[in-house]
């Protein structure tokens, strides 16, 4: 058995070397496809994480139509805190809000020239733990007395999510097309080996080699193509992703890209497995087709 494996691998390696340029083309195609596949996977994973971050920071702002006394504000804060899913409630009086607003933008112009009176309402900032509960929390707050308006960033989440699903579908189509192209090129490459080996195959059959025995070297040759392609595309993906994460962390520090290598391990593993699988299938299909033609 061990003997046979050694035989398969050395036959596969000879075939790989003998196909020369075509082997390089096949490996190159695998690299390109897997790299694009990897980029797509990284995109999906990161959009997921961005959605997660945005959703977990959802705030509901509730505005009040008049100035509240301290005790009124406190009672509303405690009522809101009792709602399901609410993590934290903060009360900002209109005076505080105005003061903050002026601190932030006041330097540029004198706001009193434009608006004579403080236009801001009293506001409750509500943090909701579970994104799905945001709409119901908002509805219940808006039903409370003195609350005039409730706002939350639900639209943004929906938009990001629809973008994410568009990326997923588009990427999936792209990946499928690339997989088919890669498969065809691997099939063609290994076919060259099969043709170069026609005589060997005929003799193998003559001396009583089983079809499955004849197939193995070609399947292994396919796996070699897939494996070498996977390793290169892993190197490309890893180095370029690390570079992107570094650049983004400098330029857009608020964008929560995944930098933990453990989370990316799954991506790299999937890319590697897909590469090996494509190579293996290519080898198998190619040699099975040829064996049928010969006999």
């Amino acid at each position: 058995m061990l003997n046979s494996i050694e035989f398969f691998v050395s036959e596969a390696w000879t075939g790989f070397k003998r196909s020369g340029i075509m082997s390089f083309v096949a490996v190159g195609t695998v690299i390109v496809s897997l790299t694009i596949f990897g980029v797509f996977l990284m995109g999906v994973v990161n959009i997921g994480s961005i959605i997660g971050t945005i959703s977990s920071n959802v705030q509901v702002s509730a505005y009040v139509n008049r100035s509240l006394e301290k005790y009124e504000a406190d009672s509303i804060v405690s009522r809101i805190s009792m709602l399901r899913g609410v993590a934290n409630v903060k009360y900002i009086s209109r005076t505080d809000a105005w003061k903050r607003f002026k601190e932030e933008y006041g330097g540029k112009m004198s706001l009193e020239d434009v608006v004579s009176d403080n236009p801001l309402p009293d506001t409750f900032i509500v943090e909701v733990q579970i994104p799905e509960l945001v709409p119901s929390v908002a509805r219940q707050i808006s039903g409370m007395p003195v609350i005039s308006e409730v706002r939350y960033s639900g639209k943004l989440i929906e938009q990001v999510e629809s973008l994410a699903s568009a990326v997923r579908i588009g990427g999936l189509i792209l990946v499928c097309m690339l997989s088919v192209a890669t498969l065809l090129i691997v099939i063609n490459t290994i076919r060259l080996t099969v043709i170069a080996r026609e005589k060997d195959i005929a003799i193998m059959k003559l001396v009583g080699a089983t079809n499955s025995f004849i197939k193995w070297p070609f399947i292994i040759e396919g796996i070699m193509i897939g494996l070498i392609g996977s390793m290169f595309s892993f190197a490309i993906l890893k180095s370029s992703y690390d570079l992107v994460v570094f650049q983004v962390s400098q330029a857009l520090p608020f964008l929560p890209l995944i930098s933990d290598q453990r989370h990316l391990l799954a991506v790299y593993l999937i890319v590697g497995c897909v590469g090996v699988f494509l190579g293996m299938m290519g080898g198998y299909i190619s040699v099975s087709k040829s064996l049928k033609e010969f006999s």
Partner: protein
Amino acid sequence: MIQIIGVSKVYPNGFEALSNVDIHIGKEEFIFIVGPSGSGKTTLMKLLYREELPTSGQVIIDKLNVAELKPYQVPYLRRNMGVVFQDFKLLPRRTVWENISFAMQVVGRPRSAIRRHVSLALELVGLQKKADSFPADLSGGEQQRACIARAIVNNPPLLIADEPTGNLDPTTSWEIINLLDKINKRKTTVIVTTHNKNIVDIMRKRVVALESGRIIRDEQLGVYGSAK
């Protein structure tokens, strides 16, 4: 050992290569199949190692009906026979040793057995000194001996030689025939197709003569043509 019963073979293009052929071959026999080119000798051999299927009739080897074998069973049939060709069919990029060990590797024999049996086969055909040569560096006779070594290395009970001397000069042809005779004496059934009259007449073995796909003669201690 081999029963060929009422076998006909018509190729898809309509050519009838064999017509109602009956031959029974016993264990450890040495038999010549003779006849001019196109008389159906090679087709008959192909039926034996199931390269072709009979159009009608039966080919039975060791109680196995060859035509009824499932494709996955064919390799196991072939492991019980060695085949030798006029054009040797050696792999050019492998040495003599590798060509012979290849036949054992592909049936999954262990390395120690391969080493022992390849040595024995090389010794039997007298090619020990050429083990590391490539086929292109060998004479025709040496190539045919390498081919015979490959055919017998797995110790099959049956050896089929299709025109083994077709490409060889008379002296070398005799060497090959004597080698086949030697293998036959080691209790291997040997079937040889040939149109070498000289050899057949001197060997005086069983001779089956084919003409246009029909058996015209089947005699023990026979000669190539009817004595004139």
